[in-house]
Subunit: 380 residues, 2 copies
């Protein structure tokens, strides 16, 4: 499963939009396009400007080695401690915290939620540090991963320290929402752990031993949960009631699932406009991504062919002889591509319904909508 | 460095007491002996009875695999999910939380602090899960460690989940002290991480490249910090002021260092009464324990001989030919044993001073004192 907010996020595509009833955009009569993309980009930039000082101060408060590894991981320092240009990712999650706070509480709530936004970003980066160790991933944001530079032990410890730092930030925040926010973020961490467990477990199983429901549940726990939690924390900081908080959590979760579905489609067929990652990379790695499992469990003749192809380990000669293309075609013929695109549209429609429930005013909901469209690459 | 509250804790010894001025025990005119040991044992038993239901409910609230690994690690389940007799350790840290709360706030504060005690024990067990992965330790509490049963990934994830669970317990605790307690516990986790980093770093260095100050700082971060935090949390739950909280933190830290020094002495010369771990095990593993580093940096002729012996990797033939005994003798002749015993006595004296500052009434301080004496094995 491709990791959210890594190189894959550099890609952009035009995937079918949901066009669902209840989508706030329809009420304003606007389509999606460059204007929304600019809106999202402006939000992400503003988020970095607001949250980075808090985030960096938190990482710099760490002792010795934890500080060094943290600063390296966030792209603020080279491995030798010299300054680096900084590429701490696109800040989608903190942007969701701030946008949710602003949607329900206006600019004052946005400002008040900066620490919560930093806490969510710390949790995200704690999971990246640990996931990279577990998955033996060697590149993150175009740089060697922390474990390849500092070793497994120090990468794990730095991740542990970032989790603690996130919860300390909230515990030290005098805002009345900080305590329920901390409880919610801690509960989300447990869900993320179970999601990562399921991901590694599914990857070890035979292709035919994996169900679509399992992969969907894994994607929700691993990707949807923290996006939902980010939105929920923003709502809490705006003083929202339980129902609005739950609706915004649902919005983030469903948008997260839509993102994952689309990311998986790009991981097989590549990006129609840009190509950040070579098309077929997930197939070469025999990833049990959502379109593949949908295809494998489709009961079609193409599913049988796919199971046979996927059961063989990757060999460069076979890949060069067109095996990857044959696998992609089998997934497509078994309906995996169509299913993923329809499911993504459906998830986005559900996200829009949740958003309309929490934030009925389309103008107020605009920021969150632009971010959801940005992550699902309906605009670029 | 021997891990606190493992098999090593089964050992007991009579090491020299501090006999320092300001020691509350002197005021009552009591010596240390079987009565104190019984008092400590009774406290630990009462702690288990109070804290275990909270702890177990928390671990049972985890999803699927995290729950399974947690229940195994705490000794409540076998690896296959069947019930186990349960050996979750001696509960020193939760006992310190409850004893500190009782010392400053009486029985009501003790009862109120049960959740905080469970949170501290969860943090302790999160670090055990991760340390065992990093140190490749295969036995914990007489059972195979979690990573040997469930794999590195799941052991790391279960540790992550226990940390989150600890901070969630505090965030969901309506007690007014829960928020500063959460901030303090999170800050302590950062210190524990840095301590574990330093420990693994020191073990990789050449013996002559390690200073005594570094090993003492490491022992304070890795062992003292959480004992201090446990006492501080108890004080917070008793409504104590900043100075009392700081003094009780200092008490726990100093007692923790005394424990580590004595544990290191036992790791070389064995226990004069019981022998849980074979004498010399730490020497065979070439551990840079406190007496060894004190000896190596003593500037004595024996230090030169020790450096030569310690520089050679362990070989069974050499060990059988009396090499371990020669190393132990060199550490002793270089003054490592005397230094460690004097330093342990000094740390206990400092612990007593901190305790007297926070809890001037010897009767009220009795519970904490009995626990400190128990962990430093002045009584058994």
């Amino acid at each position: 499963m491709a990791e959210f907010m890594t190189e894959t996020e550099e890609r952009a595509s035009g995937v079918p939009g949901p066009g669902a009833p209840g989508e706030p955009r329809e009420k304003t009569g606007e389509g999606t396009g460059p204007a929304d993309a600019q809106e999202a980009a402006a939000q992400l930039e503003r988020t970095r400007a607001l949250v980075d000082p808090e985030l960096r101060a938190a990482v710099e408060s760490l002792p010795g080695s934890m500080r060094r590894i943290g600063l390296y991981h966030f792209g603020w320092q080279q491995a030798d401690g010299s300054p680096a240009a900084g590429n701490a990712g696109k800040a989608i999650r903190p942007a969701l915290v701030l946008a949710a706070a602003a949607a329900l509480g206006g600019p004052a709530a946005r400002t008040a939620a900066v620490r919560a936004a930093a806490a969510v970003e710390l949790v995200h980066n704690f999971t990246l540090l640990h996931d990279d160790v577990m998955d033996r991933d060697t590149t993150r944001r175009h740089r060697p991963t922390a474990w390849t530079v500092f070793g497994d032990t120090d990468a794990i410890l730095a991740g542990d320290a970032l989790q603690a730092l996130a919860l300390r930030l909230l515990a030290e925040d005098p805002h009345p929402a900080s305590v329920p926010a901390a409880a919610r973020l801690a509960a989300c961490v447990v869900e993320l752990c179970e999601g990562q467990h399921t991901d590694t477990d599914l990857e070890q199983r035979a292709p035919e031993a994996v169900t679509l429901d399992e992969v969907l549940a894994m994607a929700e726990a691993k990707t949807g949960a923290l996006l939902g939690c980010a939105c929920a924390l923003g709502a809490l900081y705006a003083g929202a009631g339980e129902e609005e908080v739950a609706a915004l959590d649902g919005f983030g979760r469903q948008a997260g699932l839509a993102f994952q579905l689309i990311d998986d489609v790009i991981g097989i067929w590549g990006d129609p406009r840009h190509t950040g990652k070579p098309a077929g990379a997930d197939l070469a790695a025999r990833k049990k991504s959502l379109p593949v499992v949908a295809a494998l469990t489709s009961g079609t003749p193409a599913a049988v062919e796919l199971a046979q192809l996927y059961g063989k380990p990757y060999r460069e000669e076979a890949a060069e002889a067109g095996e990857i293309a044959r696998i992609a075609l089998a997934v497509e013929r078994a309906g995996g591509r169509d299913w993923a695109q329809a499911e993504a549209a459906d998830r986005m429609a559900r996200a829009m319904q949740e958003l309309a429930r929490a934030v009925p005013d389309p103008e107020a909901a605009g920021g969150l909508l632009a971010l959801a469209e940005f992550v699902t690459r309906r605009t670029s």
